[in-house]
Symmetry: C2
Subunit: 342 residues, 2 copies
């Protein structure tokens, strides 16, 4: 290490000799939590993949889950806020779908308790997929005869094509979308060379500054050290609050009405965060370095040296995992006629 240590934390850490084991730096589990009423099956996962990529469940026939949660990229759309039907934009940044199965609550404001519940939201949001209501979605699914067989294979029963079953299938597919074996994970499993020295330094700094108070290993999202999944953001004042308009959104308050939920958000995972610029609930911060600066000041009331920002960013880059190879789905054809579109 040839750089000059400017900040007291770096000086402290240089002498700690902390090991991964001592700090319980675990690797990402390969098993995701699976609800008892929606076990994983091949047929369900395949159907969920089809639904995830199918644009015909948007009013215009142009927007699928993958439009904003792009699996070819970091599971998001790299836009400040997403663009749905008719070019409409919403108020919030699309969170990554990769590893979302590890989240105990969904959406920035935690208004869905499960992936199943989440899946029913965007399809009827006017600025996203724009369908009038879920009945219309079910009607379109039934109009595509190829889905009848796919739902029957996945769920059986007399009327397998339903919104609840569609949501279960999408959730089952999403539970396969995990990205293990990041440099961090390999380091955590004992490969001391898997992270570069500055990435290890970034990890230690990340912990000592208090980032792990909310973003704990191995998921680097909730739960925080007290078991909670939410945090007030921004917590401290400072120039960034105005620059990036960080208090315009009331966050979870809009869901619960509780005063204590003002500007409260789900703690998002930091896995693959290097791929998901721009940052925060409103996507106002364009770079990872700047996101690190904003978090340090607004959450920890700390101003970082540029070298520290660089170390932490380097560590965050070590959270980029390996993406599974997925065969493209074939979608059942639109039979006989086109689906009516706006």
């Amino acid at each position: 290490m040839t750089h000059t240590l400017k900040h007291h934390w770096l000086a402290i850490l240089a002498g700690t000799g902390l090991s991964a084991a001592a700090l319980a730096w675990d690797a990402l589990p390969l098993q995701v939590p699976v609800p008892a009423d929606n076990p994983q099956t091949e047929a369900k996962i395949e159907l969920g993949k089809q639904l995830f990529f199918d644009p015909r469940f948007s009013s215009t026939g142009t927007i699928s889950c993958n439009t904003c949660h792009n699996l070819f990229l970091g599971g998001d759309d790299n836009r400040p806020t997403s663009m749905g039907v008719h070019g409409r934009t919403g108020p919030r940044n699309a969170p990554t779908v990769w590893n979302s199965a590890f989240h105990a609550t969904q959406f920035w404001d935690g208004r869905a308790a499960s992936l199943e519940e989440q899946a029913k939201g965007p399809v009827v949001a006017s600025v996203e997929m724009g369908m009038a209501d879920l009945d219309m979605v079910a009607k379109r699914m039934r109009a595509i005869t190829g889905y009848q067989a796919a739902f029957a294979r996945a769920f059986g029963g007399d009327n397998p094509v339903s919104i609840d079953n569609a949501a279960k299938a999408v959730a089952a597919f999403e539970r396969t979308l995990i990205t293990p074996n990041s440099p961090y994970d390999r380091w955590a499993q004992g490969d001391a060379n898997a992270m570069l020295p500055n990435q290890v330094q970034g990890l230690l700094l990340f912990d000592q500054l208090g980032c792990t108070g909310c973003h704990q290993a191995p998921f680097f999202g909730g739960p925080n050290k007290r078991g909670g999944h939410f945090a007030v953001f921004p917590f401290h004042d400072g120039e960034y609050v105005g620059t990036y308009n960080l208090r315009a959104d009331m966050g979870r308050h809009a869901v619960t009405g509780r005063k204590s939920d003002r500007h409260k958000y789900k703690v998002p995972t930091l896995r693959n965060v290097a791929l998901t610029a721009p940052y925060f609930h409103n996507g106002a911060v364009p770079t990872l370095d700047q996101a690190v600066r904003v978090m340090a000041t607004t959450q920890l009331n700390a101003t970082l040296f540029e070298e520290e920002v660089a170390h932490i960013s380097a560590f965050l880059n070590a959270l980029t995992g390996e993406f599974p190879s997925i065969a493209m789905p074939r979608l059942p054809p639109t039979p006989g006629a086109s689906i009516p579109t706006e």
Copy 2:
């Protein structure tokens, strides 16, 4: 066959005993034409696949080639006309990209002579991907560092990232998008049971009515029997011309200025036509059956019995091929910052 033969053609055909061999009903070739200056290579095809699925070369970061030429479906978007950036719609229906490598001319009006030339169009069309100009596209490609290595692998040289090379890569990928082994193809190769009896009857009717004057086997698109790739549509008058506003578009005339090119269009392939509703250059006709009726009256001045329509539709359904299994691309990440979007 239990139905009643109402039309003279059916009566005639029932006694012909025409065999596939006698009529030169060939199966789709497995080799597509490849230009001498753009040979197929694995590196180029893989790069082309990435570019084809990458939405970052649209002004909003939301529209990729696959948005309107959806490979999960019939290679189009099942919309009357496509929806590009900001929800803008253009004047023409998206043609399928499947088997487009067999077309000798591209776009409905044949304004591109090759897939390479075609690929440069939609990216800068204001109602499609909406980029200001091709230089901006090249700038975005260069900003994604992962593409530098991919272009270098595919093309070598000092400055491999260029629009020309991107177009070559996309075209190389598109030359892999062929769908052989349709029921028709298997029938043409000697499996007499690959098509149902009414599909064979539809094929014979399709030929005897004169559809093969333009839509010849094995591609069922151009060239026609005199070697041409264009046809005036609609050719005859009739109620459908007004109903579907079929003469509002001047077709190839807008490209050449020639009076003889008024309302002239490329003869599109009919392969996978059952998957690509709605139909014609303006996407005004919602069903395949109705498209058959329209073609019979506007091009052949013939009014079909409903039974004949059903037979021809059944035959057209036999042109749905087998779609290759394709692994999803991983796109190189947006490095450090988000791509600026409108």
